[in-house]
């Protein structure tokens, strides 16, 4: 009698442990499947966003710009471009790397020369950690770019620019990626405008190579680059 009871007890236990294993496997399968579907939908959305082409734009009276100012020559070039833009490009949010001292002075002098149409300030200056120092190694660049992303995401989500304008410093990569994220999530249609430096005649900068595929408008300033990168826009020298 006792042996029978023990056997049926064991059978009951093994039934429940088998059931628990099946449930665990099904649950795990469910999680993996959901993750897979989310990733697939995300990739499809990214593909759609990058390849949807430009529809004829509705007219607008203002364009909020996020301007990425790198060090030295990059800032000089971007301010020359900014100088050519009309008063419709407002507000102007400048983003500089936290280790950059000179760019802030250049930007403030530039903005001070502008005629003031409203009493409120039309520009802001924001700082994020530098993504990469010149000649920094690959592996540490990935880490510092991810760190810059921590600051870029809340900044771009708050500013919600119509356009991100940049010209080459590593600082623009996390900012452009965040702009792209806003578009993917359907929060705002942020355009990415990239102007490769005049120094780049035969080869693109690393930032240029990264952003070539995701920019809406990618400008080069020498015909040799336009020949190599068919998606690029060539209007001659613009700085």
């Amino acid at each position: 009698m006792q042996q029978n009871e023990r056997h049926s007890g064991e059978e009951v236990m093994s039934f429940w442990s088998k059931t628990a294993s099946v449930v665990a496997v099904m649950w795990l399968f469910g999680v993996v499947f959901s993750l897979f579907m989310t990733a697939l939908l995300f990739l499809l959305r990214v593909y759609f966003v990058l390849n949807s082409g430009s529809n004829p734009p509705k007219t607008r009276s203002h364009v909020a710009v996020l301007v990425v100012a790198g060090s030295g020559g990059h800032t000089t070039e971007i301010l020359r471009l900014m100088d050519s833009l009309s008063a419709a490009y407002t507000p102007r949010h400048y983003v500089i790397a936290d280790t950059d001292k000179m760019s802030e002075e250049k930007i403030v002098s530039f903005e001070r020369c502008k005629p003031e149409s409203h009493s409120d300030v039309q520009f802001t200056i924001n700082r994020i950690p530098r993504s990469r120092e010149v000649a920094q190694s690959w592996s540490s660049s990935v880490v510092s770019t991810l760190n810059a992303l921590r600051y870029s995401i809340p900044l771009v989500f708050r500013l919600q620019p119509d356009v991100v304008l940049c010209n080459g410093p590593g600082t623009c990569v996390p900012l452009c990626m965040t702009g792209l994220l806003l578009r993917i999530l359907g929060i705002k249609k942020v355009g990415i405008v990239y102007v490769e430096s005049i120094c780049r005649v035969q080869t693109l900068s690393l930032t240029g190579r990264i952003l070539y595929l995701v920019s809406d408008y990618f400008f080069v300033q020498w015909s040799s680059l336009r020949d190599k990168y068919p998606k690029a826009i060539f209007l001659g020298r613009i700085v």
Partner: protein
């Protein structure tokens, strides 16, 4: 006073400073009618003083907030291959001789100097060929460098973004 302005940009280029202040080089410059040599030496280890050259009056400094004035007063600019220096000299409408630092690893800065040389906007040499170049250079072949046209960029962007 016909002036030569030498600039090495934000780093250093001791070899250029040494070559251009050598007795042979200053003799050639004097022969070509230059009387004053102004040197921006950056972080270099050589900072020549005023009486260091027999043939020319010399001024040297490391950095300035702006070298616009020095560029304006120069009759000839001798520069390293940095884009900022080249563009500033060409923007000031000055004859430019770029001296390439062949000790540096080939870097992208040379792309611009090479292209501008091909388009006849500047002359090009190394420290070892500097004296030869100074002796034989013909600055009249240099073509003026027209400024960039950012308005083309603005017009394009206005149209693309639908700005009224």
């Amino acid at each position: 006073m016909k002036t030569v302005f030498v600039t090495v940009g934000t780093t250093r280029f001791d070899e250029l400073i040494e070559s251009v202040t050598s007795s042979e080089a200053t003799q050639v410059l004097k022969f070509r009618g230059y009387e004053r040599l102004v040197l921006q030496v950056g972080k270099g280890s050589l900072l020549p003083d005023a009486d260091s050259c027999a043939h020319l009056s010399v001024q040297a400094f490391r950095f300035k907030d702006s070298i616009t004035e020095d560029m304006k007063q120069a009759d000839l600019v001798i520069s390293h291959a940095g884009a900022g220096s080249c563009l500033e000299a060409l923007g000031a409408g000055k004859p430019l001789l770029v001296v390439v630092n062949d000790k540096l690893m080939d870097n992208h800065q040379l792309e611009l100097a090479r292209q501008l040389h091909m388009d006849h906007h500047l002359l090009y040499c190394t420290c070892s060929t500097l004296i030869e170049t100074l002796k034989n250079m013909d600055l009249s072949v240099l073509q003026p460098f027209p400024p960039g046209q950012p308005k083309n960029f603005a017009n394009f962007l206005d149209k693309a973004l639908g700005v009224k």
